[in-house]
């Protein structure tokens, strides 16, 4: 096995079990930045165990929402497929790292005996990337909602302009004033206007 000339250790090999290709890409990216290039992504459950035994990783990263964690459990139990026993969370004494990992939804399986200094940066990186992915998802959702809200407000303005002969500015002002008076969101008031108009139209 090729050894890292400076430390006398072979480079770490990491396997990522992840069905979502965007999240997998984000993780691979992060690992590359951290200088870990020996990374394999397993995207499907089919032949997962066989692929893992071929890759023979030092660290396995898998999201805790992935039901395949129970399959890994079997592999570590009857370790016929993998040459070395694998334990979860390098060092149970590092409570804050484990807490952060569980909260971010990351689980990491690490070859027994691997030094903590070598693994901690990987787990930390995975945690921050998982969090970043979550943030990304949230922002995407917010952006979508934002767009939908804007459309509803536009429609409500149009209805008010037409039915009450208001200018665009006045229509918007009326919606905003009503929202403030009723302590509700502008978009909710706009939605009420749209709904009411659709009821009255027929």
């Amino acid at each position: 096995m090729t050894k890292d000339t400076q430390t006398g250790q072979r480079p770490l090999r990491v396997a990522i079990i992840e069905e979502n290709s965007i999240r997998a890409a984000i993780l691979v990216d992060g690992l590359r930045e951290a200088g870990i290039v020996d990374v394999e992504v397993i995207e499907t459950m089919t032949n997962m165990l066989r692929r893992l035994s071929t890759i023979d990783p030092d660290v396995i990263i898998i999201g805790i929402e992935n039901p395949s964690r129970d399959v890994l459990e079997q592999m570590f139990q009857v370790s016929k497929l993998v040459s070395r026993p694998v334990a979860m969370f390098v060092d149970r004494s590092d409570g804050s790292m484990i807490q952060a990992a569980v909260e971010a939804g990351v689980s990491a399986y690490v070859v027994d005996g691997l030094r903590k200094e070598r693994v901690k940066p990987i787990v930390d990186m995975a945690v921050s990337r998982f969090n970043a992915f979550d943030r990304l998802q949230r922002e995407l959702l917010e952006a979508r909602n934002e767009l939908a809200s804007r459309k509803i407000i536009e429609r409500a303005k149009g209805i008010l302009m037409r039915t009450r002969q208001l200018s665009e500015e006045e229509a918007y002002g009326l919606l905003r004033q009503t929202a403030m008076n009723e302590k509700r969101k502008l978009v909710d008031i706009a939605q009420s206007v749209v709904t009411a108009a659709s009821l009255l139209e027929r």
């Binding site: 039901p67 399959v71 459990e73 079997q74 694998v86 569980v102």
Partner: protein, 431 residues
């Protein structure tokens, strides 16, 4: 317009309140205690759903927060890292945890079992047809006859040089694993040599069979029936056929949480006892099925759950049904009592299949996982019938094992050595 905000601002004395506390004996209101419970969506979580939805927990001053999860590994880890206080667990999980088995063993315990039954073994239609062709089955056979037919197929395939059959269970430390293996071995099939055993999470079992990745599986309801209704599987054995007394799921408890909240744990057990009684009453099955069909729980049609609760199983795609006595029990016959002898039986199977070597300390560790004394303390003087002993000879009378042997908790090595098919790693056990 009414200002709802202002009207709802303070505590309002409701006239005709649904609170059934008589006003003259009104107790000081106890602040509700939040208990976080992790679960896997399966019909055997019924007692937890009923406790949360039917008011049994509230009556004990507890607000149950049921949190759905996707894997038993998560259940174990989230209990360990204090995201859950208690959890719906496979009966062998607390035992494995005390024996330090598994990748993140967190010693937990159970003072209360959530019921018996619900498991079944389903084989693919193709495999069942091979069994029919070789052994002349007509579909009316019992579980053991089905197992023997399977053995013929296994033998036939070996002679023909075909690859071994692949069977799935849902977790290495599961009733499914031990029951599937028990049934196979009782029919003369060595699960470690004659077939390949693997793990597939419950919601993926049907898909895995449809994709022909597996030839059979053992899992709890509703997955067996779903496989049959999709026309891909036949149910060949149920838990009741293999060992009717087998404990299925238990309430796994975090020891730290129990230490800090002894009173809440007792109250929770009282609530679960009442819920379990309610679940056993056939008159409540419709309501229970409706509750569980909600997507936040099991999320399958209410009608299917109702039939499962009644033990009406569709066993093959032609629509043949079987009425299984005692298919699921939640309270009856001390179903909630954490029998030490049942914990030790599970340990005997762990030894039998080489998951752990038998030693003198083993049984003591197992006893730390099942806590009948806590059950006794909560229910001893309450009118709930509590068995006089923590242990008994298992497999006697109607509660027989499929192989007809008895299990005496005093002689685990002898019991294990008595199996022709085993994979012990301890030489003293394996002779």
């Amino acid at each position: 317009m009414w200002d709802l905000e202002a009207a709802g601002g303070g505590p309002v004395q409701k006239a005709g309140s649904v609170d059934d506390t008589p006003s003259e004996t009104r107790r000081r209101p106890v602040p509700e205690r939040l208990v976080r419970v992790g679960f896997i969506p399966l019909v055997d979580m019924a007692v937890l759903v009923a406790a949360a939805e039917q008011g049994f927990a509230r009556r004990e001053g507890i607000r149950l927060q049921l949190v759905k999860d996707v894997s038993w590994s998560n259940i174990r880890d989230r209990l360990a890292f204090r995201q859950f206080d208690v959890a719906h667990m496979l009966s062998p999980m607390p035992i494995a945890s005390q024996l330090h088995l598994g990748s993140n063993p967190y010693p937990c315990f159970t003072p209360f079992a959530l019921g018996r039954g619900g498991n079944a073994i389903t084989l693919s239609v193709e495999l069942y047809q091979e069994m029919q062709a070789l052994a002349g089955l007509d579909g009316s056979e019992d579980a053991l006859a089905n197992g023997r037919a399977l053995r013929q197929v296994v033998e036939h395939r070996r002679q023909a040089g075909r690859k071994p059959l692949v069977f799935a269970v849902t977790y290495p430390f599961s009733s499914h694993n031990y029951e599937f293996r028990f049934w196979l071995a009782a029919a003369g099939i060595n699960p470690d040599a004659d077939v390949t055993m693997t793990v597939v999470p419950p919601p993926l079992t049907v898909d895995a069979m449809m994709a022909r990745a597996i030839d059979g599986f053992c899992v709890n309801a509703p997955w067996n029936v779903i496989a049959v209704e999709k026309g891909i599987g036949c149910i060949v054995a149920t838990k009741a056929d293999i060992w009717p007394s087998a404990p299925e799921k238990v309430l796994g408890v975090s020891p730290e949480w129990a230490e800090e909240n002894p009173e809440t744990l007792s109250r929770l057990m009282v609530a679960l006892d009442a819920a379990a009684r309610w679940c056993d009453d056939r008159q409540n099955h419709s309501a229970l099925a409706d509750m569980m069909s909600d997507p936040s729980y099991v999320g399958v049609p209410s009608d299917m759950i109702r039939r499962l609760l009644a033990g009406q199983l569709i066993v093959d795609p032609d629509g043949r049904t079987r009425q299984v006595h005692n298919y699921m029990a939640f309270h009856d016959q001390s179903a909630n009592f954490p029998w030490i002898s049942q914990a030790l039986w599970i340990y005997s199977q762990m030894v039998r299949w080489g998951q752990v070597a038998y030693d003198e300390i083993g049984p003591a560790l197992v006893r730390a996982a099942y806590r009948p004394e806590m059950y006794r303390e909560v229910f001893g003087s309450s009118g709930v019938s509590v068995p006089p002993d923590d242990s008994r000879i298992e497999g006697v009378g109607a509660a027989r094992f499929i192989d007809g042997r008895h299990f005496s908790p005093d002689d685990i090595p002898g019991y294990v050595a008595g199996f022709d098919i085993r994979n012990g790693i301890n030489s003293s056990v394996a002779e």
